[in-house]
């Protein structure tokens, strides 16, 4: 079983650009960590605003991206065979997920979630921090993964 480095939120924030850190800090102070990750992922600009152009289908899909990220994160962290190759890479590199692993996680999950890695990074660090506080074993013991 892999582990997540025991880092403070400020240490995880070093993965972020200054503007991302600023926005995520505001979201965390308002919603707490997990809900902040969700709000970041499903935000679509200011409320009561009609936009002019682009793919409007994505707006309907927005809430699904969060549950997709959570499902895939759980599979990756908790040893689901869908991520065997990625899990081996983490275990070979020292068993521990830390700041240096965040970009790789975002790149692995991006095509499955259907969002760019850059938008996933802030949400991933918040989930990693929450999970690390609980411990991977304890976290995964609450998950019942389905082999799809």
């Amino acid at each position: 079983m892999m582990e997540i480095e025991n880092l403070t939120l400020d240490e995880w924030y070093t993965c972020l650009k200054p503007y991302q850190k600023n926005m995520i800090e505001q979201l965390v102070s308002k919603y707490g960590e997990e809900k902040a990750a969700e709000e970041w992922l499903i935000a679509r600009g200011p409320i009561q605003t009609v936009t002019f152009g682009g793919n409007q289908a994505n707006a309907v899909e927005a809430p699904k991206y969060w549950s997709r990220l959570k499902d895939e994160f759980d599979k990756l962290i908790c040893g689901h065979p869908d991520y065997e190759k990625e899990q081996k890479k983490i275990l070979t590199a020292g068993k521990t997920i830390g700041i240096g692993s965040v970009t790789a996680l975002a790149n692995w999950l991006s095509p499955i979630i259907g969002m760019s890695p850059s938008i996933l990074v802030p949400a991933i660090i918040l989930i990693l921090h929450t999970t690390s506080k609980m411990g991977v074993n304890a976290y995964c013991s609450t998950k019942h993964l389905i082999n799809k």
Partner: protein, 216 residues
Amino acid sequence: MFNFTQITLLIGKLNKSTGAIDMLGTGFLVSKEGKVVTARHVVGNEVNDLYVLMPHIPSINAYQDVTDLSCKPVAVNVEDVNPITDLCILKTNLSFNGILPPLESLDNILVGEKIGMFGFPHCVMGRRVLTYQETEIGAKMLLETSGVKSKYATINIQTRPGQSGSLVFNLRNGAIIGLLIGTYAPSSGVIIAGINPHELNQTSYCISANYIKEML
């Protein structure tokens, strides 16, 4: 003044069933290394098959042939997304040798001052006409997304689908002060011929360009 016609670009996505590029909205070049900004909702969560279309006219005074469907697409990657401010940075392999207008902020313009805007109204319906509009700043606002407030301006002009991502510049010095996002339209509970009547207002929103600068 700056040559805005050469930095305002169409954003498109390859339609694999037709082999053509579907036009999604407007964007503009913000770095000499080929970074282009647009509204995030223009590309949505797409990461594949995105393109910018190179300028099709040398000057805004050229007659734009709407029957000419040829284009010069350049592939782009999504480099950064800010879902709170609805901004997206795309990266091309283009390099730009001209002088780019500076990215400033709505802090640098007063209510009532004149602005110019370049964009592609109706491009989502297949019409490619780079269009220039002039108006003035009507108000400055703080709008909220998920509890985070950002700086916006009301501009006193009605805009059309396809103009999201248009550059908004200060007529006094040519500096880019904003990017067109949309318009105020709360749900009315009534849709007439597919239109929410609240969308038929005469103003639009732009977001302050300082939020673009911090993403570069």
